[in-house]
C-alpha cells in the first residue's frame, strides 16, 4: 500500500503527501509563507489552522456528495439485493439471502440480456472506434476551417439519447421510413427493424455509433497531435509511405489512447439503456416484443420499475458492477502485458 502510494506520488509530482504532522509543520517554513510579522499569536494560530484544514475543506464537497449519493446507495443496493423488496409493499422487506441472484442466474431473460448487451456492445464499439481513428487521421491533415470540421463531427454528441433515438426510430420505421426507402434503391425489401432480431440490435448500435464516433475521433486526434513529428520524418527517411507511417507510427503511438477509449466505451456499453428503451416504443422496457434488444441496463429497469421487484433490480445492478470489474481487470492485465512486451 505504501509502495503504491509512493509510486503514485512519483507520477503525480504535486501530490506528495506529508509523511506526518511534525515534519510537515517544520517543512512549512520552506516558502509556504510565514505569517506576516507583527500579528498576534491567535492570528498565526488561525493561519496555521487554515493551512492545515483548507485542503480538506476544498475536497469535502466532492466526498460528502459522492458518499451520500454514490457510495452509501451502492452499499444499500447490495443490502437490498439480499432482500425481497417490492415496489408495491415497501414496508415488508424480508431477508432472502442469495435468492435474487439464484433467481437471476436461472432466468433466461437475464442470459438473453447479457448476450444482447455483449452483442450490441461489440457491434457498436468496434466499428465506432475504427471509424473514429480514420476520421481523426483525416482531421489531422492541414484543413481549411479545421475547427468547423471538428465541431460538425461532434454535433451528434449534442443530441441526447432520447432525441437521437426518437429520430432514428422514425428513420428506421417499417413503412415510409427513410432507411427502408433508401435500401429499396439497391433492391432490398423493407426490413422490419423494430421486430427483427438482428435488425433491432443493428439499429440500436447505429444510434450509439452516430452519437459517439465524433467524440472518440477528437480524443484520437488529440493523441495524434501529441506524436512527435520527427518519428514521421525518420519513418519517411526509411522510405515509409503514408499508409506505412499510419500503421507503424500512428497506431503504435495511439495504443494507450486506444485502450482508454476501449475501457470507456466498454463501461458505456455495459450500461446501455436509453436507446433500446425508446427504440422499443410501446414495448418499452421489454426491449422489443421478444426481448430482442433488452440489455442488462434495460432488464434492471424492467424488473425494478416495470415489474416492481426492486430487490432483483438491485441484484442485477451489482451483477453489472461485477462484470465491469472483471472487464477492468482484464484490461489492466492486457495493459501490463503490452507494457512488458515493449
Amino acid at each position: 500500500m505504501t509502495s503504491s502510494k509512493q509510486a503514485l506520488a512519483q507520477t503525480a509530482s504535486s501530490a506528495d503527501a506529508a509523511p506526518g504532522d511534525q515534519p510537515g509543520a517544520a517543512r512549512r517554513a520552506h516558502g509556504r509563507g510565514t505569517p506576516p510579522p507583527g500579528t498576534s499569536s491567535w492570528r498565526s494560530r488561525l493561519y496555521r489552522w487554515d493551512m492545515k484544514a483548507s485542503p480538506y475543506a476544498f475536497i469535502a464537497p466532492f466526498f460528502i456528495v459522492f458518499g451520500a449519493f454514490g457510495l452509501v446507495p451502492l452499499l444499500y443496493t447490495a443490502w437490498y439485493s439480499l432482500h425481497n423488496v417490492q415496489l408495491s409493499g415497501l414496508d415488508h422487506q424480508t431477508w432472502v439471502g442469495l435468492d435474487n441472484y439464484k433467481n437471476l442466474l436461472s432466468s433466461e431473460f437475464f442470459w438473453n440480456a447479457l448476450e444482447n448487451t455483449f452483442t450490441i456492445g461489440v457491434i457498436s464499439t468496434v466499428p465506432q472506434l475504427l471509424m473514429a481513428i480514420g476520421i481523426a487521421h483525416l482531421l489531422n491533415y492541414r484543413l481549411r476551417g479545421s475547427t468547423v470540421w471538428r465541431v460538425v463531427m461532434l454535433t451528434p454528441y449534442a443530441t441526447s439519447v432520447a432525441a437521437a433515438t426518437l429520430v432514428f426510430t422514425l428513420l428506421y420505421s417499417w413503412d415510409g421510413g427513410m432507411i427502408n426507402w433508401l435500401l429499396h434503391f439497391v433492391g432490398i425489401d423493407p426490413i422490419n427493424w423494430r421486430e427483427s432480431d438482428w435488425g433491432g440490435q443493428f439499429a440500436v448500435s447505429s444510434i450509439v455509433i452516430w452519437r459517439w464516433t465524433g467524440y472518440n475521433a477528437l480524443i484520437y486526434l488529440a493523441a495524434m497531435q501529441a506524436i512527435p513529428t520527427d518519428l514521421y520524418e525518420s519513418a519517411a527517411l526509411d522510405g515509409a509511405g503514408r499508409w506505412q507511417q499510419f500503421r507503424h507510427v500512428t497506431v503504435p503511438m495511439l495504443r494507450p489512447t486506444i485502450l482508454f477509449t476501449v475501457v470507456v466505451s466498454t463501461i458505456g456499453a455495459t450500461q446501455l439503456f436509453g436507446e433500446p428503451l425508446l427504440f422499443g416504443g410501446v414495448s418499452g422496457s421489454k426491449g422489443g416484443s421478444a426481448h430482442q434488444y433488452q440489455t442488462l441496463g434495460l432488464y434492471m429497469y424492467d424488473q425494478g420499475w416495470g415489474i416492481g421487484n426492486l430487490g432483483k433490480a438491485s441484484a442485477i445492478a451489482w451483477t453489472m458492477f461485477l462484470i465491469l470489474l472483471i472487464v477492468a481487470a482484464i484490461n489492466l492485465l492486457i495493459t501490463r502485458r503490452l507494457r512488458k512486451s515493449q
Binding site: 476544498f58 463531427m153 443530441t159 441526447s160 432520447a162 426518437l166 426507402w181 429497469y301 453489472m320 465491469l324
Partner: protein, 302 residues
C-alpha cells in the same frame, strides 16, 4: 494592492495556458500534410452523416403525421413547423420541461464547476495527508455505473416526499469526479505555485487565495468544464426518468414520454426532439470551438 500585483503574472499565465495548443500548432506546422481533395470529399460525406439526422428532424417536424407515414419520406420542409412546436410545447409538456432543464442543468453546472475547481486546486497544489490516495479514489469512482445507486435513491427520495421534485435530480449530480480530475490536471500546469506562495507571504487566507489567485487562473478551464457539464446534465437520462414523471419533467423525461406513446403524432414527436436539442445546438454554434478544445484537452491529460 496585493491583488493588482497578482493580476499581472496571472494574466501572463493565462496566455501561457492558452499557448499549449499554439505549441502544438508550431510542432505540426509545415510538417503536417496538406489535405488533398479526396480528404475533403470524405469529410464532406461524414459531415453529412453527422448533420443529416438533425436536419431531417427539422424537416419531419415541419410536416404532419400522415405525410410521415407515406413513401417516399419528405426531403424538404413543409408548413407545420410552428404549429408542431407549439403543440409539443403546450401538450407534450416541453414548455415546463425546458424551464426545468434550465434550472437543473444550470444548478448542476454551477455546483460542479465550483466544487471541482476547489477540489482540483487542493489536489493540484496543496499538501495534505493521503492526497494521492484520495485522488486515486476520486478517479476510481468514475468506474461506478449509475445503476448502482438508483434503487436506494428512489426509496429515500420517496420517503422524503421528494418524488417528482427537481432537487431529486440535482443533488446526486452536484459534484463530478471527472470535473475534479479535469481541473486538477489544468491547475497543475496553469497555476504557478509561486503565485500562491506570494499570496501566502502577504498573509492571505486560503479563501482569499482561492478567490484572487485560483479562480482567475482557472477561468478558461472552468468555462470549458461548465460547457461540458451543461451538455451532460441536459442529456442525463436514467435517474431523471426514474425520479420524475410527466407532471414535472425535464426535457429528457418529456421526450421519454413522447417516445412511449404519450402523443401518437410523429411530427409533434420530432418537434419535441428538435426543441429539446435546440439549446445545445445553439451552445455548439456559439462555443463549439471551446467544447471541442475541452474534450481534446481532457483526452491528452487523462
Amino acid at each position: 494592492m496585493t491583488t493588482s500585483e497578482l493580476t499581472l503574472p496571472q494574466a501572463k499565465e493565462k496566455g501561457a495556458g492558452g499557448g499549449r495548443p499554439a505549441r502544438r500548432r508550431v510542432l505540426g506546422a509545415g510538417k503536417q500534410l496538406h489535405a488533398g481533395p479526396a480528404t475533403y470529399v470524405v469529410l464532406t460525406v461524414l459531415a453529412l452523416v453527422s448533420l443529416a439526422p438533425l436536419l431531417w428532424t427539422a424537416i419531419a417536424a415541419s410536416r404532419n403525421n400522415e405525410r410521415l407515414a407515406q413513401t417516399p419520406p419528405p426531403l424538404w420542409f413543409g408548413g407545420n413547423l410552428f404549429k408542431n412546436l407549439q403543440t409539443a410545447w403546450d401538450q407534450a409538456g416541453l414548455g415546463t420541461a425546458m424551464v426545468n432543464s434550465v434550472i437543473v442543468a444550470g444548478t448542476i453546472t454551477f455546483g460542479t464547476v465550483l466544487f471541482s475547481t476547489l477540489a482540483g486546486f487542493a489536489f493540484a497544489k496543496l499538501r495534505f495527508k493521503f492526497s494521492s490516495t484520495l485522488l486515486l479514489l476520486t478517479i476510481g469512482t468514475m468506474m461506478i455505473p449509475p445503476q448502482l445507486a438508483v434503487v436506494p435513491l428512489y426509496l429515500w427520495m420517496s420517503d422524503l416526499g421528494w418524488s417528482n421534485q427537481l432537487q431529486t435530480v440535482i443533488l446526486p449530480t452536484l459534484v463530478s469526479a471527472f470535473g475534479t480530475f479535469f481541473m486538477r490536471q489544468y491547475l497543475v500546469q496553469a497555476l504557478p505555485t509561486e503565485l500562491i506562495e506570494a499570496a501566502r507571504v502577504d498573509g492571505a487566507s486560503s479563501l482569499r487565495v482561492v478567490w484572487h489567485v485560483v479562480f482567475p487562473a482557472a477561468r478558461p478551464a472552468m468555462a470549458v468544464l461548465g460547457l461540458l457539464t451543461f451538455v451532460m446534465a441536459w442529456n442525463d437520462f436514467l435517474w431523471p426518468i426514474i425520479a420524475l414523471n410527466q407532471q414535472n419533467p425535464t426535457v429528457q423525461v418529456a421526450l421519454n414520454g413522447l417516445g412511449t406513446g404519450y402523443i401518437p403524432d410523429q411530427s409533434v414527436i420530432m418537434a419535441g426532439a428538435l426543441l429539446g436539442t435546440l439549446p445545445l445546438l445553439i451552445a455548439f454554434l456559439l462555443f463549439g470551438k471551446q467544447i471541442v478544445g475541452g474534450i481534446m484537452q481532457g483526452a491528452i491529460k487523462g
